[in-house]
Symmetry: C2
Subunit: 119 residues, 2 copies
C-alpha cells in the first residue's frame, strides 16, 4: 500500500531542518549548495536530508546539479489521511454531545412517557 509512502512522508517531515527545507522550497527552487548555506551543518548532511525528502516524494530534481523542486502533490496524501480521521473524530464528538444533551433532558426526575430509549 501507500502505507509505506505515508510513513516516509511523515518521517521526512518529523525533522525541523527538513521542514525548513520544504518551507524554503515552497517559495523558490534552489540548488543543494544554496539550500545548505544557512545551516551550520555540513553540505553532506543537507544532501542526506534532501535524499530523505526525495525518497518520500516531497522533492525532485532533473539532474545532479539542477535546482531542487518541491513536489506539492504529496501534501494531498497527508491531508487526505488527516482529514479522514479528524472528521470521523469530530462526528463522534457531535454524537456524544447529542447524547449528553439527551441525558440532561431526561435527568430531571420527571419520568413521563416522553423519550423511551430503545437500547
Amino acid at each position: 500500500m501507500s502505507e509505506d509512502r505515508l510513513s516516509r512522508v511523515f518521517a521526512a517531515l518529523a525533522d525541523p531542518t527538513r521542514r525548513d527545507l520544504v518551507a524554503r522550497l515552497a517559495s523558490a527552487d534552489a540548488t543543494v549548495g544554496e539550500l545548505a548555506a544557512p545551516y551550520d551543518v555540513s553540505l553532506q548532511a543537507v544532501s542526506k536530508h534532501l535524499k530523505v525528502l526525495e525518497e518520500a516524494g516531497l522533492v525532485s530534481r532533473e539532474s545532479r546539479r539542477a535546482p531542487v523542486r518541491l513536489e506539492a502533490e504529496v501534501f494531498d496524501l497527508m491531508t487526505k489521511w488527516i482529514d479522514r480521521y479528524q472528521q470521523q473524530a469530530e462526528e463522534r464528538y457531535q454524537r456524544l454531545d447529542a447524547l449528553l444533551e439527551e441525558m440532561q433532558e431526561s435527568t430531571p426526575s420527571r419520568e413521563s412517557a416522553r423519550e423511551q430509549d430503545a437500547s
Copy 2:
C-alpha cells in the same frame, strides 16, 4: 516554539502501528488492552506507542486504566503547516504557468509593440 511539537506529531504518525491506533481511536475510545489485542507485539510495546502519541498530544487519558481518547485538535496544527506551503507552492506554479504562456506568446518572431513587460 511549537516547532518541537510539530516534530513530535509528525514523528508519532510516521509509524504504521501508531497511525493505526489513531485510526481506531477515531471511531471509538479504547483501553490499552483493547488497543493492543489485534497486534502481534507485546502489550508493553503498544503501551510505549501510546506514550509517544500522548507526548505528541494526539491522545489522552483521564487515569491509568481509563480509555484512551483521540485529541483531534492536534490535526489542526498539521493541516495549518501543510496548507501554508501547499498553497504557496501552488501559487508559484500558477505564476510559472503564466510566465510560460507569456513566453510562448512572445516567441513567435513577431516582436510588435503588444505586451511590454514591466519587469
